[in-house]
């Protein structure tokens, strides 16, 4: 299926946490995975997105504040929910990683996705400090940064990305972003009609990083899933102007301080200075004798 603007619509309301997406991603992309780790964190033993995990199924045990009473009428499952979400690079329209990358290793592809060119990346890790979604990981083995490519090689062959292909519930839907958005709007309306008033789309419009090619249907607020809300979805470059201005003002004040200190002081050297330089002390440069003659 040829797409102009490729993306995923991940409907978390039908994710069952089977991790087929994680496995398919690793298999297609030849990712070894990290050493097994018992995280004792719900059903999660992946931990986070990194150089070896380009898909990560998050498990969020969301308990109500009312002493865990299950039958309290509330939005989802009596206020008690076991939320699952297959997380991935969002392929942001305004991508923080791309903004800061000094080598231009991070580019936008012909499919409108965000891609790290492995042969260009020099492993400075600036993108890691910039990505607000904890997506990019550094590989010691390659010395470079890695993340989901949205199966760039499969896209070139008109194939569906491996994770979407493997997802048994079609929680991960792949396609052209505009079409996915329509699909998401319909699904959201249905959920609202069923009484899930907290259900919401994340990244479907341009409030979050100009829109996300990989956007989500969430059953609760973004923060619950570890995603910044729209007010906090900010680009690193927001600090350029105040940062440099702060530096400029500091420089100006420091220069004035230097001017005061160096003009005011130093005109009355102690008598010992008038004596010839002792043997073994480096002679003044030719420049200094020139200065000494200055009025």
């Amino acid at each position: 299926m040829a797409v102009k603007r490729a993306g995923f619509f991940t409907d978390t309301s039908i994710c069952i946490g089977c991790k087929a997406c994680e496995v398919a991603c690793k298999e297609w992309n030849g990712l070894q995975g990290n050493a097994p780790n018992l995280l004792l964190d719900s059903l999660d033993n992946t931990g986070q997105l990194d150089a070896q995990n380009w898909r990560h199924v998050k498990f969020i045990e969301h308990l109500p504040a009312n002493g865990n009473l299950v039958n309290q009428p509330a939005d989802t499952g009596g206020g008690q929910a076991f939320l699952m979400m297959s997380d991935v690079c969002k392929h942001c329209q305004h991508a923080s990683c791309m903004e800061v990358c000094p080598t231009n290793a991070i580019v936008r592809t012909e499919f409108d996705t965000v891609y790290i060119q492995q042969e260009v990346c020099n492993g400075c890790r600036n993108c890691i400090s910039a990505c607000p979604y904890n997506v990019i990981g550094f590989s010691q083995a390659t010395g470079t940064a890695h993340k989901c490519t949205l199966c760039y090689d499969r896209l070139q062959s008109n194939l569906t990305p491996a994770c979407a292909k493997a997802c048994p519930t079609e929680s991960i839907k792949f396609g052209d972003v505009e079409q996915l958005q329509q699909l998401a709007d319909t699904r959201l309306a249905a959920l609202h009609q069923q009484g899930y008033s907290k259900a919401q789309l994340y990244g479907r419009d341009d409030k979050v990083y100009g829109g996300l090619n990989n956007f989500f249907l969430l059953m609760d607020e973004p923060e619950v899933y570890g995603l910044p809300n729209a007010a906090n979805a900010v680009l690193p470059s927001r600090n350029n102007l105040p940062g440099y201005l702060g530096g400029l003002v500091t420089a100006a004040v420091a220069l004035v301080a230097g001017l005061i200190a160096f003009r005011r002081r130093g005109d009355t050297p102690p008598p010992s200075d008038a004596a010839p330089a002792p043997v073994g002390v480096a002679p003044l440069s030719p420049a200094d004798s020139a200065e000494a003659e200055r009025p």
Binding site: V120, P236, N240, R264, E291
Partner: protein
């Protein structure tokens, strides 16, 4: 109050980057002091300016080495400057890392020129001409940029603490100037005292101004970080220890110089330098904790 939400991973910038930030701050500070002393200082400051220029270049040449070793692919350092995929230059003015690499390169050139001027008379004479004065002023601009940009580099991210504190550029610049002043006083105390005793008082006075500027900026920085709700990261057990060192580095020059301009110059300067290093360590590691 809007608390910042951060779900970002640390880039693992550690000791090499700390070393780079420290040396870049000292080198740019030395160069800036050298220009200030030479261009608008009293004639008796000539020797102090000379020491400043002699120190700036050796300090800055270590910087690209540290930066390169820290890369995952050190042999691709040049990718920072040249677009290895499409040809042409890589210059992204909105990315402080890109801008900084260029700025550091140009500043190194100026630092080298001034170093040369101190050891080779023909260049020394050139730098004392009108053209030389102009070159020093341009070099000063790049020195001040290098002193400040490392802080801006941290701010231009989505990392907690770093991105919450936009005044970091000014903080690092002021602290670099203070550290460079301490280094000059140390070098003077170690070797050149008889020639530059006249400058000791002036440098001490400048240092007092620099630490006051730095202290004000640190307070503004801490307020911005507190407003974002991430200040706790700066004050874990190690962090508290580092901030104590920062505080000592800020207050010692004020106390020492208020009693006597030469009171324990070596100890005072060492404490200031440790404070400059501790400040960078507190910020670098605090933001990644």
């Amino acid at each position: 109050m809007l608390l910042a939400e951060h779900f970002v991973k640390p880039p693992n910038w550690t000791w090499l980057i700390l070393g780079y930030f420290f040396l870049a701050g000292l080198s740019s500070g030395c160069y800036a002091l050298g220009v200030m002393l030479r261009l608008w200082g009293r004639p008796s400051h000539g020797s102090a300016a000379r020491i400043a220029f002699l120190a700036a270049f050796p300090l800055v040449i270590v910087c690209p080495i540290l930066l390169t070793v820290d890369l995952g692919q050190p042999t691709r350092f040049w990718h920072m400057l040249i677009d290895s995929a499409g040809g042409g230059l890589n210059f992204k003015y909105w990315s402080p890392m890109s801008l900084g690499v260029w700025g550091l390169g140009v500043f190194s050139g100026f630092a080298f020129l001034s170093f040369l001027g101190e050891i080779w008379a023909p260049v020394g004479r050139l730098l004392h001409s009108l053209l030389g004065g102009l070159l020093l002023v341009v070099g000063l601009v790049f020195a001040l940029f290098v002193g400040a940009y490392t802080g801006v580099l941290l701010s231009v991210s989505n990392q907690p603490v770093w991105s919450d504190g936009w005044p970091l550029g000014g903080v690092f610049l002021a602290s670099g100037l203070s550290g460079a002043t301490a280094l000059l006083l140390l070098l003077i105390a170690a070797r050149h005292r008889s020639q530059v005793a006249a400058s000791v008082g002036a440098l001490g006075e400048a240092d007092r101004y620099f630490v006051v500027i730095e202290a004000v900026l640190i307070v503004i920085f801490l307020v911005t970080v507190a407003a974002a709700g991430t200040i706790g990261r700066l004050f874990n057990v190690v962090g508290i220890g580092l901030w104590v060192l920062v505080l000592v580095g800020l207050t010692v020059p004020l106390l020492a110089h208020s009693r006597s301009r030469v009171l324990w110059p070596v100890l005072t300067s060492l404490l200031v330098l440790i404070g400059v290093l501790a400040l960078r360590a507190a910020v670098i590691f605090g933001g990644q904790s």
